[in-house]
Point group: C2
Chain length 246, copies 2
């Protein structure tokens, strides 16, 4: 099965680094706070961060009392930054595609994945491996692009009304799961679309109990500063799920 | 809180009866088979059917071995048909809005609701009452209009491509939960829109474990007979959830 490593593409890497460095973006305003709201206390916990990128989160987990953190990523470039900027004796970085985590011979209390699963073809296989890496009662929290985003295949994404407001979303083939090429800094970043019910049922069938689901939108404070994020009321950008290993 | 009884409106009732009598419709092709696929064996079970309508399903549950069936509906006209066409000593029909089920002093093994919750304002209150009516380990199965349907408020629902195929769906304000007037036989049938995450979290917060979620679409057999249902690949009409009382 193809394991996608778009992050080591030079153009993609620089574009990605730029938006991550920019303080005001949808990740920082919505995805990260929502993810944090779903995470339990880290004290004394063993944590696996899937797609750890630059390792900022791994470092935070240690600062907040985690006992041990393993961060994996498919991108050598990203992990070079992580090793330089976010090293700690309690953190181990491993260059590994998410599809290979079955090789990790450790057990964890918490598994976290931020905005990575929509790049994964074998979602069911990865979820099964996460289940096996968790202790009973362990917590699994992930975010991904919202299914109403990942379903977009071709053509204009939105139509707009006379004032230019978004109205109609291109959801052609929402129920047809598939790989979607998309243009994001470089051509042909592969994203995999899955419906709500597939995401939910894959978790349940792999032995997880779903605890909470979030589709974050802007609150009044954010809207007053960044009115452009009213668009999230039409289509949330992110879907987050917290679940517990049976 | 307003309890909506659109089914006793004469024009609505006749229109509704007509589509229910028609063998080929989305209910019979998709919703009912999906609902049945989620339901457990009825043998020896006590079943509560919320919004039982004409009582056909109550009768089927008895034929398949149910010990006792209670069917409630807000429509006197519907229950008159039910009493006439689907009476049985094991079935009790009660004229009652779904919001009042807390008055039922019985316990059940299975609670079923087919295509009614999108008419309910106090979803959380009804789910809480269902929890209290179920034995521990009891099963709760429901269908409702899909959130991508209930979110439609005003304006055209779809835009189409040059061949007339549906492409862009009007999902303006998907994340803004609200009452939507809609035109269905009569004006101003009130439907209540809730997002995926609200539906999921309301169940979990009320003490249910989610077992399975379905967004049914057409299979090849149905498509070969009724090609118009290819449109479900763009937007499934129904959402179904099976959950277990903790």
């Amino acid at each position: 099965m193809a394991k996608q490593n778009i992050f080591d593409n030079e153009i993609f890497f620089e574009g990605y680094k730029k938006i991550r460095d920019n303080e005001v973006n949808a990740n920082n305003l919505f995805e990260i706070p929502a993810l944090r709201s779903l995470l339990p206390d880290f004290k004394g916990k063993r944590i696996l961060d899937l797609g750890c990128g630059f390792g900022e989160h791994c470092m935070e987990y240690v600062k907040e009392g985690a006992d041990k953190v393993v961060g994996i990523d498919i991108s050598k470039k990203m992990l070079e930054v992580a090793k330089k900027e976010n090293s700690d004796p309690k953190i181990t970085y491993i260059l590994m595609p998410m599809e290979d985590i079955g090789q990790i011979e450790e057990k964890f209390d918490i598994v976290i994945s931020s905005l990575a699963f929509h790049y994964i073809d074998d979602f069911g296989g990865v979820i099964k491996n996460i289940h096996d890496l968790l202790e009973e009662g362990g917590i699994f929290v992930f975010s991904q692009e919202h299914p109403l985003s990942t379903c977009h295949r071709d053509g204009e994404r939105w139509t707009r009304d006379e004032e230019g407001n978004k109205v109609h979303l291109n959801i052609k083939g929402y129920a047809l799961e598939r790989e979607n090429g998309s243009t994001w800094f470089v051509d042909d970043v592969k994203r995999y679309h899955r419906t709500f019910s597939t995401i939910v049922n894959t978790l349940i069938d792999s032995g997880f109990i779903i605890d909470k689901m979030l589709e974050p939108v802007a609150d009044e404070e954010i809207l007053s500063k960044y009115p452009q994020y009213k668009d999230l009321f039409h289509k949330p950008d992110f879907l987050l799920v917290r679940s517990t290993r049976r």
